[in-house]
Amino acid sequence: MSALDFLSAERCSSGVRLVSPLARVLKGDGAVRDNSNIGKVELRGELAVFEPGPDEELARITPRRGLLLTRGSPALACTRARAAGLRAYDVTGALAALELDGEQLLARLTDLDPTSLPAAGAVARGVPAVVQRLAGEKFRLLVPQELGHYVAGVALDAAEGLRE
């Protein structure tokens, strides 16, 4: 049985240069920042049996499907979740993560209700996303990595529109 190591960038040798999908569009500490390196694990099964660790947060998408975000090792999180009877997949590379400041900037990207986060919906003209409120007016958008560059470009443009 495959351990699905090929899903995990974490399993690469130390000399391998890993590149964020947002690396070429987001630089520095502006209103939109690259948060893609956070570990992401897709969980399937009875989520109630799984207790997230201190460095983890679990976004329940359905009662049987969740997205676990971890500042630790996604591979270890997968192992722990599987031990708990869940099926777990390292999707760190599948999702780009953008962190952005300001409720008004968020409102220029999505019609999701900022008072009802986390929520799954669409951003930047139909891109599927999970949106979280981190603290205050700080938000995180998780989007398919292949659309991450595009979404980040839209977010930067929206931020520029707010400055005008």
């Binding site: 964020s20 220029r108 529109g161």
Partner: protein
């Protein structure tokens, strides 16, 4: 010339500014609109009408009518009567050839009548037929109002939420907003004027000037806030849009100097301007007639006042000189006047309510249309509900003492009583049909000033009543809106693989493939083909769909989905699979690798990942197998390393034995390549010895660089097409369509009909006897390349079509795929291809054009 300062005037006489109108400098006060300042400077003609180019002056001063449309700072169709004056603005007339005073196109009004009846482009511009291109050019040049141009402007979109959204800032709207604010936060009021003050509305967010464009499902109300489109979702929508003064229909009703009471009121009270010198007032209700003392107070002589509630008027006509009113004749009495204040009563501005789903019906006691049965979450307050007071109902149209004179029902579209009468005579007796034919209510005012008049006229012309005629469908936008605001920022969702920027850096020519941007080639497609055949090539195939199927029922699940067998697939082996619909049609294709007893890795076409995943989930919602279906497309990059040197390079980068014995054709292995864990699939993607490497996306550039560093030449989609065509590999969607089956596509070997059940089995069994066409390979001598879609011809009749064709340097021929009649699907059978006027001789070739035995890819 301004009137002496008056209480409540909107202008601040201590603050002046100037703007340009053509070559003139126009003085204005703060609080003026561009229109009021132009009026103060003596200008009376503000526009030329849409079709007849008749002079038009201020009519409503509320931004509802089309009479003051001008181009401001390059933006066309600005209603200058409500556009605030600003220093340095550049205002120009539009829709004129010459000037507003001398418009050469006004000849249409004098002699164009016989050529421009309603629907004229269907009847008078059809002969001689060969002249149509000339007519079309002329018409297109003459049609329309302003011209798009000027500096591009930025438009943004913002999503907003409100507990209560009040549209309309009149007395009723303000009261509703304050009452809602007393119940809690989240109250927003939108008003198109600029008078609302947040200080007067504590607890209410004031958006003014701003305009609600429409009401859509789910309580969505887009609001035009200048260059920002606010998309409101509101729990409650309160419509307080008031009522609209209606014009009267009579000969000369469009002359400069004919105004609605609202225009005269604003000119006097807001901007201290006398609207004329000598006036006639004709009104149906109190608000329409109350203008008389206001005029007198402004020094305007009110020559006559006609209260239609007391005595109906039977004949009414206006005469003008150079487009300006000079005389009004009422029931035979001629009255010299330069101002006619006319009002046909007030019609509730119900459009937003109708868009929200309210029923609109005639109130016979008032003779106007009122909203009824409001949907949940929608409320109406004030005059929009129909509370406009009692008034007389005017005649649908008045005639003058002598025949003639245009009577305009729709000022926006220059549609007259004569036009509507003609439409009814020609059989357009339904209001909706007539609307499309005459375009009445389809102009910039969107029926605000012509809906009621056209209804009354249709009722009269068809001998029915207004209730039976009904109203036309109310659709957004209710107020004029710039297309740029609706379009928003120009962003097009684009998918990029994790290796995308390496392709850009290598100078790849990129093309759209669905939402993906992919390399067509890197400058020399033929050389890229040669590299794969003779040495080593690498292509980015990260776009392929990738799905994990995991669970104890995984094999059974796939066995039931696919026509071929998967239950017997050994761990570490791969099998080609084609998905069919339950009607037996080809949906998608790809490979299925078993990477564990209960774990499969499925690839799909680049465009199929989401639809295949949904297909799997849809079926499992019925079958309820214990499997997880996980789309890992984005999480994994993939490259195909192909060519005689691929084994050597893979072995070196993996540091392990990758010989034919270690990894044979159609084996799946997990190896670490250049430090990156990969799932390696040995498949015949482009017909040469090759390996497909699937690995975590963030390592995309690293793996790509490692392979290119070993001498692999990047190749794009164009060389890939050539390579796959040489092997007669079909591309689902390119070589197949929604009618293609496995049998017709020449894959009769694939379905295992001895399986008890699979999706599409019955249809495949049935289709064996009903084959209407076959997909075959073909060759042609190198020469004209048939276009995709070119016609296959046999004995001079159409007998199929080409789906793919390329020049194969290796085969020395044109090679392709085509649909032909089944009896032509024989090796060497000749047929012709008609492409771009050329006839190309071709022959059926059933075996691959290159390495037909597959020796190279199995080596």
């Amino acid at each position: 010339m301004r009137l002496p300062p008056r209480d409540g005037e909107r202008i601040d006489r201590s603050r002046t500014l100037t703007f340009r109108y053509g070559a003139q400098e126009i003085d204005a006060f703060a609080g003026d609109t561009l229109g009021s300042a132009l009026f103060a400077s003596g200008r009376r003609v503000f526009s030329r009408s849409f079709k007849y180019h008749r002079p038009r002056g201020l009519l409503c001063c509320t931004g509802h009518c089309p009479n003051c449309l001008m181009t401001v700072d390059g933006v066309p169709n600005v209603r200058v009567c409500v556009e605030p004056a600003r220093a340095g603005a550049v205002v120009r007339a539009q829709n004129v050839v010459g000037s507003l005073e001398r418009d050469l196109m006004a000849v249409t009004d004098k002699i164009g009548g016989p050529f421009t009846p309603v629907g004229f482009y269907y009847r008078t511009m059809i002969r001689p037929r060969r002249a149509w291109p000339l007519y079309e050019r002329l018409l297109r040049h003459a049609a329309g109002l302003g011209r798009v141009g000027g500096r591009p402007r930025r438009f943004d979109t913002e999503h907003r939420r409100a507990r209560v959204l009040v549209v309309g800032g009149g007395r009723a709207g303000r009261a509703a907003a304050l009452a809602a604010a007393a119940e809690g936060p989240g109250v927003v009021i939108v008003d198109e004027g600029d008078r609302l003050s947040a200080a007067d509305l504590p607890g209410v967010e004031v958006l003014a000037p701003a305009r609600a464009i429409g009401v859509y499902e789910g309580g969505l109300v887009p609001v035009d806030a200048d260059r920002l489109l606010l998309r409101f979702r509101a729990e409650r929508i309160v419509v307080a849009t008031g009522a609209l003064e209606q014009p009267l229909v009579f000969p000369g009703n469009d002359l400069v100097g004919v105004m609605l009471p609202s225009a005269a009121r604003r000119l006097v009270e807001d901007w201290a301007l006398a609207p004329g010198r000598r006036a006639v007032v004709i009104g149906c209700d109190g608000p329409g007639l109350d203008i008389a003392p206001i005029l007198e107070d402004a020094g305007v002589e009110v020559a006559r006042r006609f209260d239609l509630r007391e005595r109906p008027v039977r004949a009414l006509a206006a005469e003008g000189r150079k487009g300006r009113l000079v005389r009004l004749t009422v029931d035979g009495e001629a009255i010299d006047a330069d101002l006619a204040i006319v009002s046909g009563g007030r019609q509730p501005a119900y459009s937003l309510l109708a868009q929200a789903g309210a029923r609109v019906e005639l109130d016979p006691s008032l003779g106007i249309f009122v909203p009824r049965e409001l949907p949940p979450g929608i409320e109406a307050v004030g005059a929009v509900t129909g509370e406009v007071g009692a008034g007389a109902t005017p005649a649908p149209a008045y005639a003058g003492p002598k025949p003639g004179g245009k009577r305009f029902v729709c000022l926006c579209e220059d549609a007259t009583v004569k036009d509507l009468s003609r439409a009814v005579r020609e059989g357009f007796d339904s209001l909706e049909l007539a609307k499309r034919y005459t375009t009445v209510t389809m102009g910039p005012c969107q029926g605000k000033l012509c809906q009621l008049a056209s209804n009354r006229l249709y009722a009269q012309l068809t001998g029915t009543d207004s209730a039976a005629i009904g109203s036309t469908t109310a659709r957004p936008p209710w107020t004029p809106v710039e297309l740029g605001l609706l379009a928003g920022r120009h962003h097009e969702p684009t998918k990029r693989t994790s290796i995308h920027f390496r392709h850009e850096e290598a100078g790849a020519e990129l093309l759209w493939a669905g939402q993906w941007k992919r390399p067509h080639s890197y400058g020399d497609a033929a050389a890229e083909v040669r590299a794969v055949h003779d040495d080593l090539g690498v292509i980015d195939v990260s776009t392929l769909g990738k799905i994990l199927i995991e669970g104890p029922d995984a094999a059974t699940f796939l066995e039931r989905l696919y026509p071929n067998r998967f239950a017997d697939l050994k761990v570490g082996r791969i099998r080609y699979g084609v998905l069919t619909s339950d009607g037996g049609r080809i949906l998608d294709d790809g490979t299925v690798a078993r990477i564990g007893e209960s774990l499969f890795y499925v690839t799909t076409t680049s465009t199929g990942s989401e639809s295949v995943c949904e297909w799997f989930e849809w079926w499992n919602a019925i079958w309820v197998y214990d499997v997880e279906i996980v789309n890992v497309t984005g999480g994994l990059a993939a490259v195909n390393l192909a060519g005689p040197r691929s084994r050597e390079v893979l072995g070196r980068l993996a540091g392990t034995d990758v010989s034919n014995e270690a990894i044979s054709y159609l084996d799946a292995r997990e190896l670490t390549v250049a430090g990156v864990p990969c799932l390696v699939l040995r498949i015949g993607f482009v017909g040469e010895l090759g390996y497909e490497l699937h690995f975590a996306s963030p390592a995309g550039e690293h793996v790509w660089d490692s392979l290119v560093g070993e001498g692999a030449r990047p190749f794009g989609l164009e060389p890939q097409r050539v390579l796959r065509l040489e092997k007669q590999h079909i591309i689902v969607g390119q070589d197949t369509d929604s009618e293609s089956t496995l049998l017709s596509a020449g894959m009769g070997w694939l379905p295992k009909l001895d399986k008890e059940e699979f999706v599409g089995k019955w249809a495949i069994e049935l289709g064996r006897e009903r084959l209407r066409e076959r997909l075959v390979g073909f060759t042609a001598s190198v020469g004209e390349l048939p276009k995709e879609g070119a016609q296959v011809v046999v004995d001079g009749r159409p007998a199929g079509r080409v789906t793919s064709a390329r020049r194969s340097e290796r085969a020395g021929l044109i090679v392709g795929l085509a649909w032909v009649e089944p009896d032509r699907a024989q090796e060497g059978a000749p047929f012709a291809i008609r492409s771009d006027g050329a006839t190309i001789a071709a022959q059926v070739a059933l075996a691959p054009f290159y390495d037909p035995q597959g020796e190279r890819l199995r080596s």
